[in-house]
Amino acid sequence: MTLEMVIFLICFPFLAALLLFFMRKSGPVRKYTLFGLCAIIVAAVICYAVTELVSGETHSYFVHTELVDKLMLAGEWLLMGLIFYFAFRHRKYYVALLSVAQTGLMTWLELTGRTELGGFHVASDKLTIIMCLIIGIVGCLICVYAMGYMKDYHSHHTEFKKRRSYFFALLFVFLGAMFGLVFSSNLVWLYFFWEITSVCSFLLIGYNQTEEAIRNSFRALWMNLLGGLGFAAAIAYCAIRLETLELQTVIQLGTMVPVAIIPITLLAFAGLTKSAQMPFSSWLLGAMVAPTPTSALLHSATMVKAGVYLLLRLAPALCANLAGTMVTTIGGFTFFMTSMLAIAQSDAKKVLAYSTISNLGLITACAGIGMHEAVWAGILLMIFHAVSKSLMFLSVGAVENVTGSRNIEDMHGLIVKLPRLAFVMIVGIAGMFLAPFGMLISKWAALKAFVDSNSILLVVFLIFGSATTLFYWTKWLGSLVAVHHNSERLEDITKGSEWLSLICQAVLMCLLCLTFPVVSSYLIEPFLGDMFHQTLPAIISSGNIHIMALMLCAIVILPVAMRLLTIHRKNKIVTSYMGGANTGDDRTFMDSYGKTKPMYLANWYLEDWFGEKKLLKPSLILSTAGLIVLMILAIGGAV
């Protein structure tokens, strides 16, 4: 039963993509087809999750897969061809070179029969369920949102060629590749899906075909191909020296055999590139040029999550060795630096991008610690981040469609202008960093794990990073709640499908906050039990969970209580204090010539302290050097 579902989940999105690709005509038919396809995927994912949870076991399938292997090889050649086509068309030959190197290596391995080592090719456990739920539900909600969004997008940006069927098809290919990625337990299979996501993201980022889009898409491609090259090298080493290609076996060897640290390091390197850690962070920032659903998909449900997924899988093999040190150092450093860089950004999407990289850094650091508490925190972070980040991206996109700007300064007073969207955004921001909500719980556990593992450097990164994170989110929050008098409500042109997606995610966010202990005890803890082969103590005591629930209730009850308390007291509303020169509407004042002047309030961005100009280059150099040194140490130490 499970096997059929797994095959369905992998293949169905690809077929759906094909179908959507050939539905060139926009209209209700395509719209409802897309909704239907999404509904089917969500239903399948939930169905799969429930049956797996009920059976409660981990499954592994497919020992003999010669035919599929050949097909995958053909697929890899196809991908290489695609890369070649674009590389030559845009004269970026280095990309072709990278592609040839890894595809050549893989072809050689496969044709000489070195990859036929048996073992299972598909596996399903609790982490797979979590990933599938994220990909299926969040991913599909983004697709639903994209339907309405792309229409507005093209009416705003008439200069871009309409290729919507191509766009939707790519979204579904992405989902399919992600499903394949999380189900594969064989490195060669994993690699194949890994490459599909790289190429897919390249195509999605370059959707607009502007010069900037093309440049950024090639940057994303070469960085991910570099990671892919590391991946291919890891496979070669595993196949030739360790004679196994099963992920689980490699990880197990990693905890026992010193030389196995080499493929682990290489795989971790691949994970770092894909999750856009510090020297490679620029590809994710560049991905902003694409339409919002792309960013949402890349940042929340797919792509970058593939990177941290692999790192979390590798976690036991990263515990207390140099490969782990490499991952934690890069992760912690990225967390801190990007949270500082985010302060100086006023473009909402850019802030979100930096915050994504920063959070991924934290997850990466958790994975690198490799202790069960840390991995617990990492998985929980990943879940919360997926939901709240996609919510944030989509609401920013919706605001941009209405107001024509995605600058945070222009979101000043959104609570009056677009109350519903502002509210959704507040839920998203609260989910990203506020106390009783999701991310903070995981940060808490992460902090505990860092202290327990005695990594002072990480503790320092975390405490300072938390402070800077607080700064840039609260700043944004403050802009949203500013109440302008006499400001008009804007006409909300957000479409029904977009609302459906936004509300579903906001509800999901709140539900997750309330039910995270359940998620933890039914999904994460059993998985960790399997991973570390022992029963684990509770990470957050039930008393504290009750207290947090209490806080959550307090936040919900507070507005109602305040309303009831002040219901008989009529507050006198007066103008704001501007030295007595307020002209009466709180937005203009009388200057010394007796003329009215508009008042402009801006947030602090502290360009001179935290700007890209000041921080980006040093941190890139530092992280590159650190990565190279630590990789050489990790690999060289093992040889």
């Binding site: 006198k572 103008t575 204090y577 030295g579 007595g580 307020n582 009388m590 007796g594």
Partner: protein
């Protein structure tokens, strides 16, 4: 407990020659120390109970003074410090002067002098404080009667 035990004041310089202002600030110094009576100089109409104005009212500051007064929560009193604030003083006949503070606001206490001496200012403030209690009483009676109605 009385409202008058905590009078917070806001000091506004109209078109004063700054003589009275120096004397107002002198009240805060160790020699006179108005904080003995709980007086605080807030500089913010929304926190203030006493509006203390020095200097006369001119065309430009008339709306400002009115606005500041409107932003103060009830009960509140206005103290005009110095002869200029009382009736325009030496500047009375100037082209731009409207007159004393009472041309735009209902002044409760007039403190004469050019410049007003700190003792006189403190006396004025203390009288204003006593007036605050009365105003508060009137205000709560008003509220009671409006509720009954």
């Amino acid at each position: 407990m009385k409202v008058s035990k905590s009078p917070w004041l806001m000091h506004y310089d109209g078109s004063s020659c700054n003589g009275c202002d120096i004397e107002v600030l002198a009240c805060l110094t160790p020699v006179y120390d108005v904080e003995r009576f709980g007086v605080m100089n807030t500089g913010n109409p929304k926190h203030a109970d006493i509006f203390l104005i020095t200097g006369g009212i001119n065309a430009q500051n008339a709306p400002v003074v009115k606005q500041l007064y409107s932003q103060m929560p009830n009960p509140k009193v206005v103290v005009a410090v110095g002869v200029c604030a009382c009736n325009g003083g030496i500047f009375k006949e100037c082209y731009n002067i409207l007159g004393g503070v009472d041309t735009v606001l209902p002044v409760d206490i007039y403190v004469p002098g050019c410049a007003a001496r700190p003792e006189a200012i403190i006396d004025g403030v203390v009288r204003a404080v006593a007036l605050l209690d009365e105003k508060k009483k009137a205000l709560s009676q008003e509220q009671v009667s409006s509720k009954e109605a």
